[in-house]
Amino acid sequence: MKKTKLGEFEEFVLLTVAALQREAYGVEIKRELEERLKTKLSVGSIQSALKRMEEKGFLISEFGEATMKRGGKRKRIYHTTSYARKVLSEMREIRAGLWEAIPKLAHELKLI
């Protein structure tokens, strides 16, 4: 876990790819994330995150179908690697552990 260096936005993108399964290509990822984060995203930010993670070995990709509305250009479909899934679950566990560790009392005290 030490040197994975997964940024917050990258983590979102990675989770989105994992969630979308077969449909995970640039525009779909963007659409999904925009809905969930309730904000506009640029193609550049999504793409650079994808390429970076591909370089780090979190993602692999392959060309998909070409459609009319894409001007005859093929999609690139992204898949998470097992390494990515491991890192993601690790992060989730760490987070969960940390959430567990927050004392109830402190929580309650804050409520007062």
Partner: protein
């Protein structure tokens, strides 16, 4: 999504230019995906927004795609590997330079010196070749050279052409040849006393010139109208420097300058300044300070403008496109016949294009100085020699060291280096060294510039060497030198067999020992030839300077008063006053002194068979005491004397050559023969021994010395050698007492006379300097080579010492090889330099004999220099403790 809407959106296309931008900058492998994404989003946006807004979103999104990770990157493309290799080459080259500092310094310094010499010579040659190039119409400018169809009976050759000639040819050319646009004529060089209030100078370098001057020549007129500046009589155009001399910061235009007479050209008067021109560029074949209008000359002496026999004009002309030189030359005889009425005239003329008048002319009586094409060749050759010697050093040292690099090459090869990349590596290394040498050379040139200017009297600018036109040449030279210098190491080293080298089998011929020997021989042949050349040049110059000229030239003070009639009136008084001073031995007046200007005259003299024969020859018009004063020896008859009043109009003294010219082998026979010359008739009364009144480049020509004291221009004084400064003061005092209106201008005869050898002196200085440099560079190389061999043989020397060899044996052993090479070089250099130096000596009428000992001396010098250079190293290795040398490894 509604289908119709969808198809509708295909009618619109996203804007083109952002896409093009994207295609240009984005990594190729990402292009298809991202382009597709962009288009899909654009289509979607079209359903909600107008085309305009969708396009804007599209453009904006594309601009936001410019992120480092998505863009093309040179570092990460396929050039990565060669780049790393280059880095390695640089690293190795640098380490090699640092590790062997001595070699590197020898290499770079030697090469830098060589290149610097080349640069300096290049600048000198370029300056010589640039003469008159500033005239924009230079390709269309020609000049007339005047000659005679008759042949010199004594030599069988035709008489040399003169640039200086008659006047009427100018208007005649304009009138008869439509292909000639403009003719510009100017007088011989005049000296006029110009004064403005208290500023009085004898201004030399004045030409009376036609008003067409500025149409033909490209001289920039700063003030005044080029069309009319030289039109009216007594108008004058000054150069900037001259204007400042008389007028300071005043505006000179329209002001008056008081002028003395110019003998035979203009009377005293006032000149109006009608123009100021830029100073004449230093690379002009004739230069001047002042131009006076030709019409001044014309109103003073209109008759000479009609006289085909009167010589005082230079004629240049500008032609148009219709001009054809060959066709023009064919028309010359007819032209002469039409214009020159005397049927028996031997007169003819030729033409020379402007681009030939500085270096390629053979005509005499030039308006200015001329250059020497052979000298240019000599210097260019020396430049190439020096560079060759320096390059050979470089090659020698690299081949010598190649054995050290052999292992590196073998390892590189076994790892998989191509031969081409090894060649590239070594050429690259030599390129780096040559580049460094070139930078050092530029610094050296900048440092040497002032002394070079002193040497040659020329003005050099570093901009002449480094400018936009020469930078490609310099870079080309850089490449050529590095390829030539680096080619042997590159080709030989890269050809080594990997296995042989790694196994440790190295034969001496692998290091190119034979080639190295050949190169050393070549180098030393050049050096010895240059040493011999230097000795010969020196000896010849001393021969010229020390030669008995036949007249006294030491301690003679010459006062120049420029034919001033008022001075000539008082000549007797001046002479008596001067001779009253004990420091002045004698005084004499004359129109010419040896080394100065003299006219030519047509003399009719009774030849041996009694017939009158007319011939032309130089003439020295002299005063009463000239012959005794200059110590001329009489071989027959007597000199002029105050005891014979008729001498002033009816007597003539000639020299031996003149007597021979008229067919008298015994000078005594010509005494008493009748002559007529320049309107004078009488008898020859004396013959003087030939004396060298012109430079020793030429033989002594026939000369007549008529007595004409009132035509004099110079007063020469023979003075005692002690306290010359005091004597000059006394002379000056007498001068200003008797002729106060005339500035006191003096010079020393020997200095004036030796000025004729100015270009010879420049030649000698440059030749010597460059030869010394060449020898120095060759020695640098030898030193490097000797050091290297000594190192190679460290073990051998150690063993020899252990077995009982002493220092002498070792030194002899190490020097022997080199000495052999030097001796071979002597054998090669001797005939070559003998041949070329003989050619050079042809240029002198009086030349030294080339003796064999010169080459012996040159060879000896080379041997001594070589031994000295080598002994430095061989002594060191000979005295090394064998223990330390044998223990190594």
């Amino acid at each position: 999504m509604i289908q119709s809407n969808d198809t509708d959106s295909y009618r619109h296309q996203p804007p083109k230019w952002p896409l093009r931008l994207l295609r240009f900058f984005l990594k190729k492998e990402y292009l298809e995906e991202i382009e597709g994404d962009m288009e899909e989003i654009f289509r979607e946006n079209l359903q909600q927004h107008s085309l305009k807004i969708a396009s804007r979103i599209y453009t904006w999104d594309i601009l936001k795609l410019f992120r480092p990770i998505l863009l093309k990157n040179i570092r990460q493309t396929s050039t990565l590997i060669p780049f790393a290799m280059l880095e390695n080459y640089f690293k190795i080259a640098w380490r090699n330079l640092i590790k062997k500092t001595a070699y590197s310094v020898i290499n770079i310094l030697g090469l830098a010196l060589g290149i610097a010499c080349c640069f300096l010579i290049f600048m000198f040659v370029q300056d010589e070749l640039s003469y008159d190039n500033y005239h924009t119409k230079r390709d269309r400018i020609y000049r007339v050279i005047h000659g005679s169809k008759s042949v010199d009976s004594s030599t069988g050759k035709s008489y040399p052409f003169w640039v200086w000639g008659n006047g009427p040819i100018g208007p005649a050319l304009t009138a008869e040849f439509p292909e000639i646009d403009k003719v510009v004529q100017f007088s011989g060089r005049a000296d006029i006393l110009l004064s403005k209030e208290d500023k009085v100078y004898q201004e030399d370098g004045i030409f009376f010139m036609d008003s067409t001057a500025f149409d033909v020549f490209t001289w920039e007129l700063l003030r005044g109208d080029p069309k009319t500046a030289l039109a009216a009589p007594y108008s004058i155009v000054l150069t900037e420097t001259t204007a400042r001399k008389y007028f300071g910061n005043e505006d000179p235009l329209g002001k008056l300058l008081k002028a003395g007479q110019s003998a035979g050209r203009s009377r005293e008067g006032h000149f109006t300044v009608t123009g100021i021109m830029k100073d004449v560029p230093s690379n002009s074949h004739f230069r001047f300070n002042v131009l006076a209008s030709m019409s001044t000359f014309k109103i003073t002496r209109p008759e000479v403008f009609e006289d085909w026999g009167y010589v005082d004009f230079y004629t240049y002309f500008l032609v148009n496109e219709k001009f054809d030189r060959a066709a023009f030359e064919k028309k010359i005889p007819d032209f002469i016949a039409r214009n020159r009425r005397e049927p028996d005239s031997e007169y003819t003329f030729g033409i020379e294009p402007l681009k030939e008048v500085y270096l390629r002319t053979e005509a005499e009586r030039q308006p200015g100085e001329t250059g020497s094409l052979p000298n240019i060749y000599v210097f260019s050759i020396i430049g190439v020699f020096i560079l060759a010697i320096a390059i050979i050093n470089f090659m020698n040292l690299s081949t010598a060291r190649s054995m050290e690099r052999a292992k590196e090459v073998a390892i590189r090869k076994s790892i998989g280096a191509y031969r081409s990349s090894l060649i590239f590596q070594f050429l690259g290394e030599s390129f780096i060294i040559v580049l460094m040498a070139m930078l050092v050379a530029l610094i050296l040139v900048a440092l040497a510039m002032p002394s070079m200017e002193d040497f040659t009297d020329k003005v050099f600018m570093i901009q002449d060497l480094v400018n936009w036109q020469t930078i490609p040449v310099l870079l080309g030279g850089l490449l050529v030198i590095s390829i030539v210098a680096g080619s042997y190491p590159a080709l030989a080293l890269s050809g080594f067999g990997t296995v042989t080298v790694l196994k440790g089998i190295t034969k001496s011929n692998m290091g190119g020992a034979n080639l190295r020997k050949a190169l050393v021989i070549f180098q030393f042949s050049l050096s010895i030839a240059l040493i011999a050349g230097t000795i010969i040049v020196y000896m010849q110059m001393n021969h010229v300077l020390d030669k008995e000229l036949g007249f006294d030239k030491e301690h003679i003070l010459v006062l120049d008063y420029n034919y001033d009639g008022a001075v000539n009136e008082k000549s007797e008084a001046l002479r008596i006053e001067m001779e009253a001073n004990p420091a002045i031995l004698s005084a004499a007046f004359s129109r010419s002194v040896p080394g100065s200007y003299f006219p030519n005259a047509y003399t009719v003299l009774q030849s041996g068979d009694g017939e009158m024969q007319g011939l032309g020859q130089p003439i020295f018009q002299v005063g009463m005491d000239f012959i005794t004063h200059f110590g001329l020896k009489l071989v027959a008859g007597r000199s002029y004397s105050r005891d014979f009043p008729s001498d002033s109009s009816k007597a003539l003294v000639i020299n031996e050559a003149a007597a021979r010219q008229y067919g008298y082998t015994n000078p005594a026979d010509v005494i008493g023969k009748k002559f007529s010359q320049w309107g004078r008739e009488g008898e020859v009364i004396g013959v003087v021994k030939d004396f060298n009144y012109i430079s020793l480049h030429r033989t002594i020509e026939p000369l007549t010395l008529p007595l004409a004291p009132y035509e004099s221009r110079y007063l020469s004084l023979k003075i005692k050698s002690d306290d010359i400064a005091r004597t000059i003061e006394d002379v000056s005092a007498i001068w200003s007492k008797l002729v106060p209106h005339r500035p006191f201008l003096y010079s020393f005869l020997d200095e004036d006379f030796n000025r004729q050898y100015k270009s010879d002196f420049i030649f000698r200085k440059l030749f010597t300097t460059f030869s010394c440099l060449a020898i120095f560079i060759a020695c640098l190389g030898l030193l490097g080579l000797a050091t290297y061999t000594a190192q190679q043989r460290t073990k051998e020397i150690g063993i020899r010492k252990v077995l009982g060899a002493d220092v002498r044996n070792i030194v002899a052993l190490l020097s022997k090889d080199f000495i052999k090479l030097v001796i071979v070089s002597i054998l090669i250099a001797t005939p070559i330099s003998w041949y070329y130096m003989n050619q050079w000596l042809e240029g002198f009428a009086y030349r030294m004999e080339i003796k064999a000992w010169i080459f012996g001396l040159a060879g000896l010098a080379a041997v001594v220099i070589a031994v000295f250079t080598i002994s430095f190293q061989s002594l060191r290795s000979a005295r090394m403790n064998p223990v330390s040398s044998l223990r190594s490894e």
